[in-house]
Amino acid sequence: MHHVKATNEVLSNSLKALEDRVNSVIKGKAKVTRLAICTLLARGHLLIEDVPGVGKTTLAFTLAKAINCSFQRIQFTSDMLPSDIIGVSIYNPESREFEFKQGPLFANIVLADEINRTTPKTQSALLEAMNERRVSVERKTYTLPEPFMVIATQNPLEYHGTFPLPESQLDRFMLHLKLGYPALEYEKEVLFERADFEAIEKAGPVIETSEILKMQKEIDNVRIEQSVLDYLMTIITETRNNEKIRLGASTRGAQFLLKIAQASAYYEGRDYITPEDIKETAPYVLGHRIILRRQTSISDAVKVIEEILEKTPVPV
């Protein structure tokens, strides 16, 4: 078990190093970095909604390389078929058998770029694989590598020829984030730097893959005190009863919130969840799971979630 300190700002050395590495590449996005790492630890998938050119790929690539993992980027297009991402069986004339050629999904960190550009058929193939962590092709099941994390991106501004993900599909993502433009002082720095993927690769890992897998298991041991669990459930129930919300959070949403709170507590070196673990992550976990009565965008939903959090008393 992780060492427990009385203060909550202490990271384990390896997690600290991981965070520093990502922060050194994606500058001024400490919170996003932290949530992305938490999602990785919680075995979740990430949905990033943002305009192009703010460093989504860099984030995914850096994360993958820092934990010594394989990385694949899939640019989604409208003519893509499920086999283009999963893989395809090819007849080998020598062995006279069909051989499965793995698609780009068979990687530890997969960047699914502009997922809303492709057809629902391909989207659902990806989402099924995300959920089950394996793919079935012609009655054969292939397990995806561990750790496995999909970082999907959506461009919120372009609508022509897109297939926005329905809420039921969005529900499969543990976290929904917005990267946003970097703060002015960081952006000035970024202007003179080139996204040097080779340099990132050369810098080498800061943490071993096996250690990430170990941490993913340890997170399940993070405890939650009864009143904190009640607090979590109060928030979930309120999303179902709030008059502004048409569809509240699902049970999977509650599961994910608990999971990410565990990861957040673990990240801070605790073996127990505090209310802030829930309050600070809830907008990112629940924002894309609810449908407002007057839906405009996910960020409106995030505001409603924040309102709910401001109304719900924290256990003392």
Binding site: V4, E225, E243, R270, T274, E276, V314, V316
Partner: protein, 634 residues
Amino acid sequence: MPKLYKSITALLAFTGCISLVITGELNPVFLLPGIALIPGYWRFLKGRPPLPRWLIGSLSLVEVVIVFFDAFIVSGDFLIAIAHMTIVFQALKSFDLREPWDPLQVFFMSLLQLIITSELTLSIAVGGIFIVFLFAMIVAIVLSHFIKEGTLHKVEFKKPLVFISLFAFIATSVFFVSIPRAKGGLWGRRTEKGITFVGFSEKVDFGSFGNALIDSTIAMRAEVSDKRLPLYWKGITLDYFDGFSWKNTLRKKKRIFSKAGKFTIRYAKPEKLTIQKIFIEPMDTAVLFGLGEIVAIESIGRVLYMDEAGILLLPAKINRRFSYTVYSIPYSRASPVESKPEYLQIPDGIEKIAALAQQVAGKADTALAKAKLIEAFLRTNYKYSLTTKPTPEGITPIEDFLFNSKEGFCEHYATAMVLMLRSLGIPARIVTGFLGGEENSYADYIIVRQSNAHSWVEAAIDGTWRRFDPTPAGPPKMASLLFLYLDAMKMNWYRYIIGFSSRDQIMLLRSLTMPVFKMPEIPGIKITVRPVFIVIAIAAFTTLTVVFILKISRLKRYPPETKLYLKFKDRVRKKGGKVSPSSTPSEVMHEAYRLKMNPDAVSEFIGIYKEIRFGGRKMDSRIKDKYKSLFSGR
């Protein structure tokens, strides 16, 4: 709609309608639609669908027409017509409750019904209904609020309900005590059915009286300050007898004006006064009753009349229940009798009676002795009876009583005695009023009934009026204890609820400040404590205790580390930090940073708190001390 909300709606609708029914003022025909409330609410509670809108709408339109018809032709009274209308609309609405806000109309109509009821009657039942209504209305409003907010299912509303109810009860009591009753109703039409069959009457005539003496209707209730005066409730005096009936001919009245609510007839020493607070039932007379010689009266209005015989009258008959206070002294020489020829008037043809008087009292030397002899003669030789036979032809009723039947009731005795006194040259008159009454020890007052109506004699002897009662005592009547108990409740209702006056307020205040606190006397040092300061001190102490207990009980539920954390949170708030119940420990911590509190200590303090509270770490004495010192360090 939740079941409780439905039940409360039904309860309020029935409460409103029943309160109108018990006034007994409504036309029974209009009560029939009220029966429809029963199936209406039965269907509503069972969740049956409401009746179609067109049906309800057209029936409502018909009712609006009926209201005008009713107001101008049937009852000829707008208030009654509206009362009828509310019953019909309540009945219609019971079939038309669709949305959660529909019951609000029911609540409003019930309130209207209760207001109309309060206007029509002062019965004690209204008090009971009011209490039911108050609490039901609080529950209804709280429920409708949560239903409107859509948050009923997760609100713990029992506690606020109890709290609001208690608050309403206390506030109502405070208002009740601090606001004296308005005289007359809201619209000044508070009427009671008067007692039309009165035992007491302003004209005495034989035959009509006997029936009244077995009528146990309550005429008045009275609180008497002491027992110095015998309970002869004097009403009017009568001077002229025409052989069959008595009349008052001394009707010239003078006015007495009130000064600060008090009509003073003449001065008397306060210690001699007997105070009677009289609650008179609706009665067909303007006469004010009282014991002994009345020297002052506290009553409504600005003017009273006093006729030549000294009878006090209101300017007009008041056919409703009201109360007044009488200050009396015993008869004395201080109020000399104006000798008037009317007090010696005798009808023709009473020689036989004069002869009897001579025979009974002629030998005595003084007027007093003569009167006493006649009184004793009548008391011992005649029989009291309420059932008199009709007087035979050719003889006056009074001769029949004196010489033939020898039985009769107070009228006969008093008439006989007055005539006998007058024939001996002693001025005398008949007095009618009430004698005695039952003492109700439950609330310490006297119940006077119509059957207490009585006539007696006053004779002017040695320059003052003296009372004689020649009537032998009839068998005493006893009321049941249950009756007395119920009547005591009624009396208290009239006395302290309906009749709560500004005088009562003053008395209440006085009773708070009156007690004299005697401090132990130490030679040389004189301590004087103004009672009012003691009251303030007690009030302040009580408030502080309550606040303290509340504060303790707020923290008592929490373990020690939480108490300290809450205190810390309070401290951050008091310094201007933005903290709320939804603030997490980290948010509180960051507020503390912003307020330039020692960051290391704050961070460690919050860390320990979270460890113990959420991490389940045991608080050993070392951590406890550390935690406390971190808290008190800032």
